[in-house]
């Protein structure tokens, strides 16, 4: 082995060892690196109790209700398996919509209602013109009616 090949081998094995080490570390951290918990995880008691944490999911269709004071909003976060009712007082982001993604930070009260002090919108990775979006929606509706018949 020439010295420079030996050097290359040492560097390569060093990088590999480091890579393996970091994969192991990341695996160990897996559960701690989550930015939010899904309603199913909360139902399975994986979320911290009595501490502030974030929940994420979709805003359930037809669940958004604004209270008479005009700034307090009730809605339900769902991951299509479990649901969590949320109450929030404050300004909602523009992209907050029924059926769209949301991440809320706050505490789970004893009555099972999540009291949020921050609500963020989580949008998906699809980008298309509005015409294409409505065409897709129409096609989806048509398919559903065909399926129901």
């Amino acid at each position: 082995m020439k010295p420079r090949h030996k050097k290359l081998a040492i560097i390569a094995s060093g990088v590999t060892a480091l890579g393996v080490a970091s994969i192991l570390v990341l695996n160990a951290f897996q559960s701690n690196l989550v930015f939010f918990f899904s309603p199913s995880q909360v139902a399975a008691k994986e979320a911290p109790i009595g501490k502030s944490f974030r929940i994420g999911g979709l805003v359930e269709e037809g669940s958004v209700r604004r209270q008479s004071d005009g700034v307090t909003v009730n809605f339900v976060v769902t991951d299509t398996a479990k649901v969590i009712p949320v109450v929030y007082t404050g300004i909602l982001p523009d992209l907050f919509k029924e059926g769209k993604g949301v991440v809320a930070q706050g505490k789970l009260a004893n009555d099972g209602v999540f009291r949020a002090d921050e609500v963020l919108a989580k949008h998906d990775e699809n980008y298309m013109p509005p015409e294409a979006a409505s065409a897709l929606e129409q096609a989806d509706k048509a398919r559903k009616t065909v399926l129901m018949q």
Partner: protein, 246 residues
Amino acid sequence: MAINWFKYSSPASFYFLAGKMIPLFSIAATVLFGVGLYIGFFVAPSDFQQGEAYRIIFIHVPAAWMSMFLYVVMAAWAGIGLAFNTRLSSMIATAIAPTGAMFTFLALWTGALWGKPMWGAWWVWDARLTSELILLFLYIGFMSLQAAIDDPRRADKAGAMIALVGVVNIPIIYFSVKWWNTLHQGASVSLTQSPKMATTMLTGMLIMSLACWMYAIAVVLIRTRTIILERERHTVWVGELQGATR
């Protein structure tokens, strides 16, 4: 016909080769930026949920891609320089760092400007944003470490170590949106799936990325030439060069 590649691994011949290539890449960058920005602002349609605000994607995504890609290229050159003791490779690595850091900063900055109106927050500590911030620190660490060591060959070696160790962060950034729950959305464009965006939007984004490539190559070549002159200032050929310009 065999090309003698080793000829260009000598700083002196690379200096003149780079000098010829810089105008080509600069022109390509200017044209592509023009076309890309035109498509981004005037041709691409508005988005169904984000309206016009999504147009920052034409800067944000190319910058983020470049930040990761340039780091890998930088680490590769630094590694080659460390393994084979080739001076020019280490010089190229040193020349890449500021451009990489600039693109990382741009990705973070445009991301913040985009996050506030869309998500409702300038910054969140999710895995994607945090790992990209670490990338910025790695670039800054590489540059400061090299700047702190007076002997350029020792600076190259120390820098190469930090560059190679930092490579583990690149897959973490890329896959963070897959591995963990993040506020940042998943990848719209990937090698394994068909792109999740309208064709004109994608075209604009890819042209902008190509423009960033050309820009990065041009700037890195310019910077490499400066570093060559600085480090080879005591050699005969640089002396002759000075005599010629005088």
